[in-house]
Symmetry: C2
């Protein structure tokens, strides 16, 4: 009975990592509530991918929240005046990729936390990764722990005794590991979209950072790349 399973909110972008996280949450026995966030990014084709992935992996519900981060800009992913980099790992002086979106995972977890409270869920899943994206501050374990502390203090549920847990099961995994784990759990990566500038049908450019990482992940896993390139 799915009604007896604990509920978990899973952030689902429609990319490779979050699809695997959804499959992991399901395997761990959670009834999954998938949350996609549209934030004015260029890769809107990911959202259609999220819908396919949520359906295939039997999410109990899938909601879309929209936030116009473009109103403040500041990232190649939200600001039309900043070009998406095609050289592998374009970085700022401090080593942080220019595809970093200011406070993005804080925002995503805030939205997931709000929905978790409404659902009575105490478990949140997020596909952050500290290996391939080591330059993103909000992909580090210390960030995840700080958000758990905040969640307890920020919420009615926390005041009433709930201890929220932020699960980041991929945080130490390589892209190849993630791919192998996802395939074992029934993810169809042909349905996912990782490209920062996919076309409306979800076909990848093959040139951006995200495409480079994804392609080498399949190569390192010794598997054919199911990505549709344009």
């Amino acid at each position: 009975m799915s009604g007896n399973k604990p509920k978990a909110v899973v952030l689902l972008s429609g990319g490779l990592d979050s699809a695997t996280v959804l499959a992991i949450a399901r395997e761990q026995g959670y009834q999954t509530y998938a949350l996609s966030v549209s934030y004015g990014q260029r890769h809107v084709a990911e959202l259609a991918a999220a819908r396919r992935v949520a359906k295939r992996l039997h999410a109990a519900d899938h909601r879309l929240m929209e936030v116009n981060l473009a109103a403040v800009g500041g990232s190649a992913l939200t600001d039309p005046s900043i070009a998406v980099p095609e050289s592998a790992n374009a970085q700022t002086a401090s080593g942080i990729p220019i595809t970093y979106v200011p406070a993005r995972n804080t925002l995503f977890l805030s939205l997931a936390l709000g929905w978790a409270e409404v659902l009575g869920a105490k478990d949140l899943f997020i596909g952050v990764n500290a290996v391939d994206y080591s330059g993103y501050p909000d992909c580090r374990p210390e960030f995840i722990r700080a958000f758990e502390t905040l969640a307890r203090l920020a919420t009615k549920a926390g005041v009433e005794g709930a201890r929220f847990r932020i699960h980041a099961p991929l945080i130490e995994a390589s892209k190849a590991d993630i791919i192998l784990r996802g395939i074992a759990l029934g993810v169809d990566f042909g349905e996912t979209v990782s490209c920062y500038q996919a076309d409306v049908e979800g076909r990848a450019c093959g040139r951006c950072d995200s495409c480079h990482l994804r392609r080498s992940g399949f190569a390192n896993a010794g598997l054919p790349d199911p990505t549709r390139y344009r």
Copy 2:
């Protein structure tokens, strides 16, 4: 020269408290960047009020971010199926008002933090109050401190050494104190809207929790209430 002043992002709802906070930030020497968040709440008239207040108090910029919290519901302020209470301080069993919006201040501060990073600002102002709204978990000092810790870990700026400060100058103030302070700093409270169910012209119902609090604030301050009631 405003160009030499440090920048601060100020969350501005268009209500009485946040208008006072904007005036305080300005008085403290900050160049203010006002951020209003539209989250599917019923009191959209507050946003027009925010525009008037930002203009009168010479904010350097005023942006509007929109988030469809109604997609997950859970509060009398975002869910059309939950009635706005007209008895003073309607509460849930744990003493938290049913106007509590799950994880709202976490979300607001996340959005403010993102804009602060883009601007190069390290100071965020929020009009939370632990006196009149003591039932809201995300209005407590320990929540504010936890968010400061998170902000440092979550951001590129934090990694590069920035220490974000979350200013909550009204956290211990009574409504009457807030009103007196705002008036001293040039706030025109006739321009602000506090009512949870104001009409499109910003006229207040006079019956909801927020109207009760506001009205008694003016009474306790010994001042005429400039609120336009319908």
